[in-house]
């Protein structure tokens, strides 16, 4: 039996701060600085051509009262919640299944992985063609979903469902991979012991696999939440926020005000709000789940 010891704070072998410098510089230059500038721009009125004019809290008070923003926030939250609810069960089961060792699983896993390899834009274009009401598969899909007409991308619910489906289809492989890795880390001995005690597959799943995947679930959830809050390319290509504003989620609203209306000050306020919300959401998730304590799932072994 290889019972490992887990010293709570290993001092040896952990790299010093110097190791973080290249990454930190890269982050500061390509993420930190632009974010700070966007933060500054959110207090200005700027059309992208002239010099930004300081406008104080104008953009922020407008943000608070804007129906378009309210709609966008609601849609973003709805999309995030539905993304988590639909994807998590699928990726959990697929990931655990794919962690097995049989040959056919490896081949099938590789096939499942394909959507992640293509660019979002190419995929969105592909799906837009598929959803074409006259020349695509939309009439068949509409029949399958029980919709009256093939106006999938033209109906408010249909377009929203299409976004949920296409992004899910695209990102399920990624999360499946995370769960596969997590499930492979679970020592065989747990299952052997459980088998000896007479536990069946279902029992083993709920009493061993699921608790052992705790940290994996948190990681995947944070990625899903932040990802869903910032989906952009799929919406841009597939629905352009439409029909009407039925899929105008916050990142799309930012694009629309920034690069269609060239109201860059206000778009910066939207962007800043999005950064704050997404950061808060991921911190909150990590905090609530106790992930920060880095408690080992193998404690008590």
């Amino acid at each position: 039996m290889n019972r490992e010891k887990h010293p709570s704070a290993p001092r040896t072998g952990r790299p010093g701060i110097a190791w973080a410098i290249p990454g930190a510089l890269f982050f500061l230059f390509f993420a930190g600085a632009p974010m700070a500038i966007v933060g500054y721009l959110s207090f200005t009125d700027w059309n992208g051509l002239s010099d930004p004019v300081w406008s104080g809290l104008d953009n922020w008070s407008r943000l608070w009262q804007d129906d378009g923003m309210r709609n966008a926030v609601w849609l973003s939250l709805l999309l995030t919640a539905l993304t988590w609810l639909t994807q998590t069960p699928i990726v959990l089961l697929l990931g655990v299944w794919a962690a097995g060792r049989q040959r056919n699983r490896a081949v099938l896993s590789a096939i499942f992985f394909v959507p992640l390899l293509a660019s979002s834009v190419a995929l969105a274009l592909l799906w837009r063609t598929i959803f074409d009401p006259n020349f695509g598969l939309a009439p068949d899909i509409a029949d399958f979903l029980g919709l009256e007409s093939a106006d999938l991308l033209g109906s408010e619910r249909g377009a929203f469902a299409a976004i949920l489906f296409v992004t899910g289809w695209q990102f399920v492989p990624f999360h499946m991979l995370i769960y596969q890795g997590g499930a492979r880390q679970i020592p065989r001995s747990f299952y052997d012991a459980a088998s000896i005690d007479g536990a069946g597959t279902v029992r083993q799943f709920f009493h061993i696999t699921l608790p052992q995947l705790r940290n994996t679930i948190v990681t995947s959830t944070v990625l899903m939440v932040v990802g869903a809050l910032t989906y952009f390319d799929t919406v841009l290509i597939l629905t352009r926020g439409g029909p009407g504003d039925a899929t105008a989620i916050v990142p799309y609203l930012m694009y629309d005000t920034g690069f269609k209306a060239f109201d860059l000050g206000y778009a910066s306020a939207v962007a800043t709000a999005l950064v704050v919300v997404a950061t808060a959401a991921s911190l909150l998730l990590v905090r609530l789940t106790g992930f920060t304590r880095m408690r080992s799932t193998r404690e008590g072994l």
Partner: protein
Amino acid sequence: MRSLDSWRTRRTRTLAGAAALALAAPVLAACGSDGPGGAGGDALEVWVYQDGATVIQEDLVERFNESSDIDINLTQVPGENYQDRMRTAMGSSNAPDIFFNWGGGSISDFVAEDMLVDLTDVLADDEEFRDAFLPTILDAGAVDGRYYGIPMRGVQPVILFYNQTLFDEAGVQPPETLDDLFALVETFQERDITPSVLAGADPWTELMWIEYLLDRQGSSAIFDRIRNGDSSAWGEPAVLEALETTVELVDAGAFGNDFRSVGYTTDGASTFFAQGEAAMHLMGSWEYGNQLTNQPEFAENDLAWAAFPTIEGGSGDPSAVVGNPTNYWSVNSNVEGERLDAAIEFLKMNGTEEYAQALIDNGDIPATTNAEDLIASSPNPEYAAFQWDLISNASSFTLSWDQALPAAQAAPLIDAIEQLFSGQLSPQEFVETAQAL
């Protein structure tokens, strides 16, 4: 102190530019293709909207480069996001030297920032050059009475295309009045044919209906007022009536049930029309060339055209036309000295008979005074003559609203039009939204 101020301005600009770049990154990534090419040395960087007609500009640039010391480097920007990309580029250090635009609102922000060369004197000094163009169309590219654009493509009125074969089979004529149009909607619905295809996934196609309905209902003067900054004109009863007619058409099934998912840029609408699934298609004059390229049999055997019907009781002039008078070249004000001379030489080539003939050969009607004489040599003289009559008899030629208004108003207006067609906004709510822009 002055140097400090200018330093600060420059710094703010750089900062702001960096932020714009950060914001633009996903957009540019979404476009997926190359930005402005690295023009070597003194070459003039010219941007043109990429479509089937750019071969004419390619030839023009080739001819220019043969005789000029300063070469032109032509960049073709894919159509869908042209306006946004050009605008983003103009705010950065990668701005083109000469660029394609729609005149009016599409360049008014640049004019306000002194970013364009004022061509008024160039036109005044060279009468032959000035008189080469139809005055109304030259004027349509002007901002506040000064000329910033030189016409460079054919005129693009919006035309009611229809399928002659389907009309013959149903024993009907193209609509002359709005009542005729509603009657046709019924006729074609009974025959299980979509009365008029509409590419609702590209809301600018929906705009074309509203533009014509308002022109017929209450005359082009109403939009003229809006364009000149009088947003109270949205409150005119004719606007509400035109919007209500639009909704009535949607509700009557004029555009079928699936129009909101149909795209124009993906050729969904044109193919549907060419396959005989729809009887009519309200579209810019370029639709003819589009069909001739993609569905030549349909274009030659079935495709017919008519002016937009009149509205009984409407106060608009039935001869009024909407669409794009033409496209223009504008010159970036950072082009100076010899490069500016070369740029002007290039612009002057757009007024020559040789260039007008190239447009005619491509099936376009050039915005030049000699166009009428050239019509006979068009690949389809009948269609060319129809367009010529339409535009030369037009009492007004209203530039598409999304091009006539500055971006800050055009973008939300287009959003509102999409909401009107999808039933999220009522005509009354649309008016209120538009007035608040």
